[in-house]
Point group: C2
Chain length 457, copies 2
């Protein structure tokens, strides 16, 4: 791979302009390394189109030459889905960050069309200016882009109420592997005319088509919020509380959880006081419950939580202070050591068993390692972070993911498969399912130029 444009790459410069074909090694580096810094490779060039037409022309050009294309959004993914490494070494990285289309909000439809490169925070502010809100929120909001979030079916803390990205996407504009373009941006909520191409592209991690824009539904912006932190004695009881909240409380935004001694860890590492006024001993789970609506929170919420030690807040600063115990987990863990990060879903009925079993599973392959568990209890989505184990030893990940699979869970709740988890896909998907995936992949990308190495190892 050369570090200066070859005559061939000059074709790309004619499509996107010379300043948008990056070949200098130093400039490429930021696009070649993933957010975790665990995965890096080498790109032939980084190409930065500004429009769908340019994107299509670049893909067509690559297609004619059989060149691999790695689409990249804000590069905040955790599974190496957007960097050129392994099977995509030497690919053209297609950075979509300059696709900055952002139409006026359609107030009649409560929808907006946004280009792939629009950061989530910009989308949120744009919706907010018209009294609406976007249904997905996550910590990487300033960097994560609409395109990347669509391609990975991003989740976050409000899936319980609004669903993940797939539930927000009314339609997409996308470029297929041959450079042809499909566009379904009219905002048709009910549309039973053929296969759900839009839903299929969402979460396909850039392997079936490259999303250049999305028509997104917006949700009402709710003025009143209540956050309650509660300490609960067992995982089973926390699951019961969660189910009762879901069936009796309208307007739940989030039910999050920190397990075991996670709360102490956050307090210790981040220098936070106990959130509870009463002394709380041996809580197996600290739940964070958020309600959003208009006016007073429903009495049922307080009724369900009444038996437990709790702390509550309605004002923004006080709510943020309670959220810090949950959102501080990743930071607190990072201060203990470089973690193995696993992101799994269990059905609620299997979750307690998983949480009981995971420490032994980890101990058996990495003696002395420590599991930190937290996540989105309302969705069954648990983040398993493990410190004190060798960083490059995959046997730990392997053991935990096998446990998840044995319990009928998903080995990737919201991060996707990318390149990092491709070798484990078979744990959670049957040969028949993987055969269907491959058939669909071959149907839409017969030469396999789109994001090779992602999903299929």
């Amino acid at each position: 791979v050369r570090s200066s444009p070859t005559p061939e790459l000059g074709d790309l410069a004619r499509i996107v302009g010379p300043s948008n074909v990056l070949t200098d090694a130093d400039v490429r580096a930021g696009y070649e390394t993933d957010w975790t810094r665990r995965f890096r490779g080498c790109a032939s060039a980084v190409v930065r189109p500004t429009t769908t037409e340019q994107t299509a022309a670049v893909v067509a050009w690559c297609s004619e030459r059989g060149l691999a294309v790695v689409p990249q959004g804000g590069n905040t993914g955790l599974v190496a889905g957007g960097v050129p490494c392994g099977l995509s070494e030497g690919a053209v990285v297609l950075s979509l960050q300059r696709l900055q289309r952002l139409d006026a909000v359609d107030p009649l439809a409560a929808q907006v069309t946004a280009g792939a490169g629009v950061p989530l925070a910009v989308l949120q502010a744009h919706a907010g200016a018209t009294g609406l809100d976007f249904g997905v929120d996550l910590a990487a909001r300033d960097t994560a882009t609409v395109g990347g979030m669509v391609a990975t079916n991003a989740g976050g803390v409000r899936v319980l109420r609004h669903g993940a990205m797939r539930a927000q996407v009314v339609g997409v504009e996308a470029v297929f592997a041959d450079g042809s373009v499909v566009s379904r941006l009219q905002g048709l909520v009910k549309d039973n005319t053929g296969y759900d191409l839009t839903g299929l592209l969402v979460g396909s991690e850039g392997t079936l088509g490259i999303v250049t824009a999305a028509r997104l539904r917006l949700v009402p912006r709710l003025p009143d919020r209540l956050v309650v932190l509660v300490a609960i004695g067992s995982v089973e009881e926390a699951l019961g509380v969660t189910a009762r909240l879901r069936s009796s409380v309208d307007g739940l935004d989030a039910v999050e959880a920190v397990f075991g001694d996670g709360l102490s860890l956050v307090q210790r590492q981040l220098g936070l006081p106990s959130p509870f006024t009463a002394s709380v001993d041996e809580a197996a789970v600290v739940l964070l419950v958020e309600w959003a609506g208009r006016g007073e929170p429903p009495a049922a919420l307080l009724d369900v939580l009444d038996p437990y030690p709790s702390a509550a807040a309605t004002e923004p600063a006080a709510r943020a202070a309670l959220w810090a115990y949950r959102e501080g987990m990743a930071d607190a863990i990072a201060r203990v050591g470089i973690p193995h990060k696993l992101d799994v879903t269990l059905a609620p009925g299997r979750l307690a068993e998983f949480i009981r079993s995971v420490p032994d599973t980890i101990e058996s392959v990495a003696p002395g390692a420590k599991a930190h568990l937290f996540g989105h209890l309302g969705d069954g989505n648990i983040h398993v972070n493990v410190t004190g184990a060798p960083v490059d030893d995959d046997s730990l990940d392997d053991a935990v993911l096998r446990l998840v699979a044995e319990l009928g869970g998903s080995i990737s709740a919201e991060h996707g498969i990318g390149r990092a988890k491709a070798r484990w896909l078979h744990l959670t998907r049957s040969p028949e399912e993987i055969r269907a995936f491959r058939a669909i992949k071959t149907a839409l990308d017969p030469n396999g130029i789109l994001n090779p190495g992602v999903l299929f190892a």
Copy 2:
């Protein structure tokens, strides 16, 4: 086609039992004619499996022989998606009504697994017994089955709040064209491990796989309801009211509409009094708004509707009496004549233009014919029923669907494409989209045995 079992069909009898291979013409007839009675054909046999294994064995048997298979649920579809006619003449009709699996409701997950043959009303009662509810409701609830509703992504009157079937389906069990089985019934709400096969099968109208069971999310059963009927002077104003309701009222279940003189038609044909105490002249739209929640309806709802003549009800019988003006439309129209039934979606911004234009469009191809318009205004989904035009003349349908396409709409909001609309698919889907559909179809059903003639004419 013979009317008694051939030696070959004896193989099927060994799979499902002799009494579940129907070859007698009289017995077959009910499965060979669609609900509208417009479409009928002739099946080699009607086969009624009881389990997924039997279904898979039947499909494998047909696959080996290159025999077409037409899956059928409750046979309440309106687009000839489940009957053997045209390209599927002589096919094996696979009636899934005996797939009656219905697991206990999982209260922790608020989910249930139901076989393809379970009627919607049975599912609703089953969920109701545990204090939960199913998110989709429609008039054919006693006959429509889970499998058919999944296969057609059925909609109904509560899409505004809960989404259509695709939003309810957490996972499916399905039989592919070669008789292989995939199953994703664990109830994993967050699961980013490969392509969204579940979502792809939903709405694929039996052309990619045969859904034998589904894992379904349930929603809380809400005790309090308010229905308000309001008369509004223009379509534009009704759309503005709908948008204001959506952005300011939590808990909207439905925003339905009857346009023009539809209200008078229902009153006249069904012998109903005016719903309004005040005299209402020249309402362009009568909106039916339903709120569901706990306790008092929000003040914002009444504030938004306050300027308009209205009638409101909270008690079940009184609510049903108001719904009768909307739900009575189909019946009232049927008393005027046999209608052409079209089911389309327009983006809210194009809806007023469509409603203004459609009478002229109809007059130009069917002079003297009469358009009756009603539907789900909250979703942009309008049912266009036309009486006074020759029943078998497709030029009327053609003209209206072309108008929809010109305005960027969908030619099938909730009914699907089936065989009846296959020749118009190109109006609403680009060559690139249809090429992708065909590629996916070929990938999953290379010999084209699943429901030939559906989607692709």
